[in-house]
């Protein structure tokens, strides 16, 4: 072999040598990456980190509330804990996790090689990450009330005028404001990116009508982010103007309006619930058909219901404000709009049950989580209907009943769906299966813990216990319920531990997965596991909603029926 030939010959590097690259290079590669899969995983890892932090904050609060007149933490610390818990879970845990799923899966499921704007994608992630860092830097940098540490203590919806300088001296509230402002920019960028990718990058043959439901749900989710995060951003800027430039938007001592902040916050805050829950529905909509061995029941109705939820969710925000003394007409309007959203949500539940109906249901871990999800969605939806009746809300708004209700939605539906999603797509991401036995331990421990905590949490609310109190009086009938609620946390933490251990253990020791371990039907399962950087060597062409079904059943393809 001549010298010239050896130069022209492509260099090959053995996998072992590729792995042996210096740590610095590997870290550098992740930091500068614009690859949607790496960014998706980074979003996910970042979200899980904050899930654990926010979870530990909740655990400390539950220790404090296990018995009346407990002295585990001071009132100042408790108020900081619930503020940080709420803010962390919504903005820096669940949102990054759902963006992580969207980032990883959207290009793979539409047969594209990356997102539409890879650099904007990286920018969005790093802005979100910066937001979380700014928020938690308040613990060091914020000069809080009474010198008891510096985390903000205004509650996650930060009602004016608590955020005014008169009531929040120091800088902890500023860290809260700027943290959310910055991560909000990241969210808006990512939402734009997801929408553009879904609308413009689909592979040949994939009409809107042939997209897997996950894409429809993420499309609507991204649309909601765009519409809903913007008012929050505006309100945060107005708050900064109040605090530093002498503005009086929310400064009631100078004639500002506390109510305007409530409207600004909840016109973001309620669509936000759907921003978080639609991606959970997306996961359920992929897992349930595969493990029932049937296509999704009523695809068009599901799409219509998704659009209806997206639309109606923009007109329900003031059901958070039933107690602020709105007129009976305004109250009645928001009763109607809020109850109306139950209809498309119900359609979704019925269609998932319809998908299982007549199938051959396989009770693997992802499906177990989805089934629990459906039952809990049903209950969370029904307590939601109860709370939509304004007079019922006059009693139970801001009580532990409401706390139980929205945790049923956020933990019982969204977190359960996230668990289902991780068990389902882990083999695609790592090339290895997660351990089924440990997965079942995770499922049952977490299920028991969840129900101990959040079922029983409804009762002290009915018995008159308001939320956000660092302690309570004995003799009001609240003690036993609070103790049970706190005990449930132990099971939940044990479940989460199983999940983390399972993820790490399976990464090294899990069974090799192959391309398509679940015998599934969407495009991501046609790529190798893990997918190469370019996803598809050849851009696929699809003829139906289940391209891999068509491939596996040439005698009975979907495209004949759609």
């Amino acid at each position: 072999m001549s010298n010239a030939e050896s130069v022209l010959k492509p260099m090959t590097v053995s996998p072992a040598r590729a792995k042996a690259r210096p740590l610095f290079d590997q870290v550098h590669e992740w930091i500068v990456t614009v690859d949607h899969k790496k960014l998706g995983l980074m979003y996910f890892g970042y979200g899980v980190l904050f899930l654990v932090i926010g979870g530990l904050e909740a655990a400390v609060m539950r220790i404090q509330l296990a018995i009346p007149h407990n002295h585990f933490v001071s009132p100042q610390t408790f108020n900081q804990l619930f503020t940080m818990h709420g803010t962390t879970m919504i903005f820096f845990s669940i949102m990054p996790i759902v963006f992580g799923f969207a980032n990883y899966l959207v290009p793979l499921m539409i047969g594209a090689r990356d997102m539409a704007f890879p650099r904007l994608n990286a920018w969005g992630f790093w802005m979100s990450a910066l937001g979380g860092i700014i928020l938690y830097f308040s613990v060091i940098g914020g000069n809080g009330l009474y010198g008891a540490g510096g985390a903000p203590d205004v509650g996650w919806f930060a009602y004016a005028p608590l955020t005014a300088r008169a009531f929040s001296p120091g800088h902890s509230t500023d860290y809260w404001t700027i943290g959310l402002l910055v991560s909000g920019f990241g969210s808006i960028a990512t939402a734009l990116n997801i929408m553009t990718t879904i609308l413009c990058m689909r592979c040949p043959g994939m009409t809107l009508n042939r997209m897997p439901l996950l894409l429809w749900l993420n499309l609507v989710m991204a649309g909601l982010v765009l519409v809903a995060v913007s008012p929050l951003t505006a309100a945060q800027i107005m708050l900064l103007i109040d605090r530093y430039l002498g503005g009086h938007f929310f400064d009631t001592q100078a004639g500002g309006s506390a109510v305007i902040w409530m409207h600004f916050f909840w016109i973001f805050g309620h669509p936000e619930v759907y921003i978080l829950v639609l991606p959970a529905f997306a996961i359920i909509s992929e897992v349930v058909p595969v493990f029932s061995r049937k296509p999704i029941f009523g695809y068009s109705a599901m799409v219509a219901a998704t659009l209806a939820i997206g639309f109606i969710s923009l007109g329900v925000w003031a059901h958070h404000l039933f107690t602020i003394g709105m007129t009976s007409y305004a109250n009645a309007f928001f009763v109607a709009s809020t109850a109306a959203i139950a209809v498309p949500t119900g359609i979704k539940i019925f269609n998932w049950v319809g998908t299982m109906w007549g199938g051959k249901i396989i009770f693997k871990v992802p499906m177990l989580f989805c089934i629990a999800c459906l039952c809990q969605l049903l209950i969370a939806g029904l307590t939601g209907i109860m709370l939509s009746a304004a007079p019922f809300d006059w009693q139970l708004g801001n009580s532990y009943f409401v706390v139980a209700h929205f945790h049923y939605m956020i933990v019982g539906v969204i977190v359960f769906a996230v668990f289902a999603g991780t068990y389902y797509w882990y083999p695609k991401v790592t090339g290895r299966m997660m351990n089924e036995t440990l997965g079942k331990w995770h499922f049952w421990l977490f299920l028991i813990g969840f129900h101990l905590t959040f079922d029983f949490m409804h009762i002290p609310g009915v018995l008159g216990m308001p939320r956000r109190i660092y302690t309570y009086e004995p003799g009001r009938g609240w003690e036993n319920w609070n103790l049970i609620v706190s005990i449930g946390v132990i099971f939940q933490l044990a479940g989460i531990l199983c999940w983390v251990v399972n993820s790490v253990w399976s990464f090294y020791r899990g069974k090799p997965a192959g391309n398509d371990p679940w015998d599934a039907w969407t495009l991501e399962w046609s790529t190798p596991s893990p997918p190469p950087e370019y996803n598809f060597a050849k851009i696929p062409v699809v003829r139906s909603r289940r391209p891999l079904w068509d491939l596996k059943h040439p005698e009975d393809p979907d495209w004949k029926y759609e």
């Binding site: 009132p75 108020n79 009330l145 009474y146 203590d153 509650g155 005028p161 009531f167 009631t252 506390a258 109510v259 061995r293 049937k294 296509p295 009523g298 068009s300 109705a301 107690t323 602020i324 003394g325 009976s328 109250n331 009645a332 009763v335 109850a339 139950a342 119900g346 359609i347 539940i349 019925f350 269609n351 049950v353 319809g354 299982m356 007549g358 199938g359 051959k360 396989i362 459906l374 039952c375 049903l378 209950i379 029904l382 209907i385 109860m386 009746a389 007079p391 006059w394 009693q395 801001n398 009762i459 009915v462 008159g464 308001p466 939320r467 003799g475 009938g477 059943h553 009975d556 029926y561």
Partner: protein, 370 residues
């Protein structure tokens, strides 16, 4: 606006009116009735079994005033509907999971691939829409009855002002101010004598919530809200601030003391009386007036005219101090003056650094404020 007499009819029989006449839903059918009975009964049973029979529990399911009662009946109706939906849908899920599970020895063939059915979709769209309409109508009636009620002459007027972290109660008709414990006259349902409460805030948002008497309404700065109660039985009703208002939100407790007309009038007369100077407390009064106490507290007829803290003119007529955080006795009073943080850490009352002798004297003085 409803005339009061009509509002009363609506309010006192909300569900029957709603169920039989307005909405046209037969409330007496066995199923619904049974369901209505089961859930609250089960909940009440569990609550009682776990906690003993405790009338102090501020449960929304033991209403003692018309607004709370209307809400109670509406919530039973809503609960019944929701429980029915739950049983039907949950039953379908469990049936599907049991019937359509892949059994051992499965032939490995895929089941029939069904894509959907327009008739079925239509059914499970239309039925929920009808349920939502029924719920909306039932809810709107109660909203209207509670929010748009008119008040008969002789209604007691009170202004409640939320402060960090205590309640100020002004009685404009009688011309005095009290704090933290709201005294109202009992109302005979046949000849109602409701209490109308105007809600204001001096600083941050608060919320007035006494579950047995009415739903909560927020006290918001720069905004005038109102609510009303007409308690049917005398007694003490517990509640507390239900909108996060700062560090000591948890100990912004609230007691409503419902008294017979005579007892209420006697109490009001006592509140109108000027403060009695007691010689034994003269030294304490001197200390009190020479200290910053007077910047925040009012004792009518003295140089103490502060508005930032509760009016102390008739302090000893209250059962509790520090917005319900401690019983009103000598030991607690002295501790409260000496070191407020030991009772309510983060409350806005500062420790005045009095020496032991002055503390005793001020406590004597406070205990003379009857």
């Amino acid at each position: 606006m409803l005339p009061w007499s009509r509002a009363r009819v609506l309010i006192s029989r909300p569900i029957r009116t709603l169920g039989d006449k307005v909405v046209g839903l037969n409330f007496r059918t066995g199923l619904v009735r049974g369901l209505v009975a089961i859930l609250p009964m089960a909940m009440a049973r569990v609550a009682l079994a776990a906690n003993g029979v405790d009338p102090a529990t501020p449960s929304i399911f033991s209403p003692a005033s018309t607004p709370a009662d209307s809400i109670y009946h509406l919530s039973l109706f809503v609960l019944a509907i929701c429980l029915t939906i739950f049983l039907v849908v949950f039953g379908l899920m469990v049936y599907a999971l049991a019937k359509f599970r892949r059994r051992p020895g499965d032939d490995g063939r895929e089941p029939a691939q069904i894509y959907g059915s327009n008739q079925v979709e239509l059914a499970w769209t239309v039925i929920p829409v009808l349920i939502v309409v029924v719920l909306f109508l039932a809810t709107a009636r109660v909203i209207h009855a509670v929010e748009d009620a008119r008040f008969p002459p002789g209604t007691t007027e009170i202004t409640a002002i939320g402060h960090q972290f205590w309640w100020e109660f002004q009685y404009p008709q009688q011309g005095f101010v009290s704090a933290n414990e709201l005294h109202v006259p009992v109302s005979d349902p046949r000849n109602p004598n409701p209490t109308h409460i105007t809600l204001l805030s001096a600083d941050t948002d608060h919320s007035f919530w006494v579950p047995k008497l009415a739903g909560k309404t927020d006290l918001i700065p720069n905004r005038t809200n109102s609510m009303w109660i007409d308690p049917h039985e005398t007694g003490v009703y517990l509640g507390q601030c239900a909108q996060y208002c700062g560090t000591q939100h948890a100990k912004m407790l609230l007691r409503v003391i419902v008294e017979s007309r005579e007892d209420f009038d006697r109490w009001a007369a006592g509140q109108q009386r000027p403060v009695q100077n007691v010689d034994a407390a003269a030294r304490g009064r001197a200390v009190f007036e020479a200290t910053a106490c007077v910047n925040c507290h009012t004792v009518a007829g003295t140089s103490a005219t502060g508005k930032f803290g509760p009016d102390l003119t008739h302090l000893m007529s209250r059962e509790t101090i520090a917005a319900g955080a401690a019983l009103n006795n000598r030991e607690n009073l002295r501790l409260w003056v000496k070191d407020p943080d030991s009772i309510k850490p983060g409350s806005l009352m500062p420790a005045m650094q009095l020496d032991e002798k002055d503390l005793d004297a001020v406590t004597d003085y406070l205990q003379s404020l009857r």
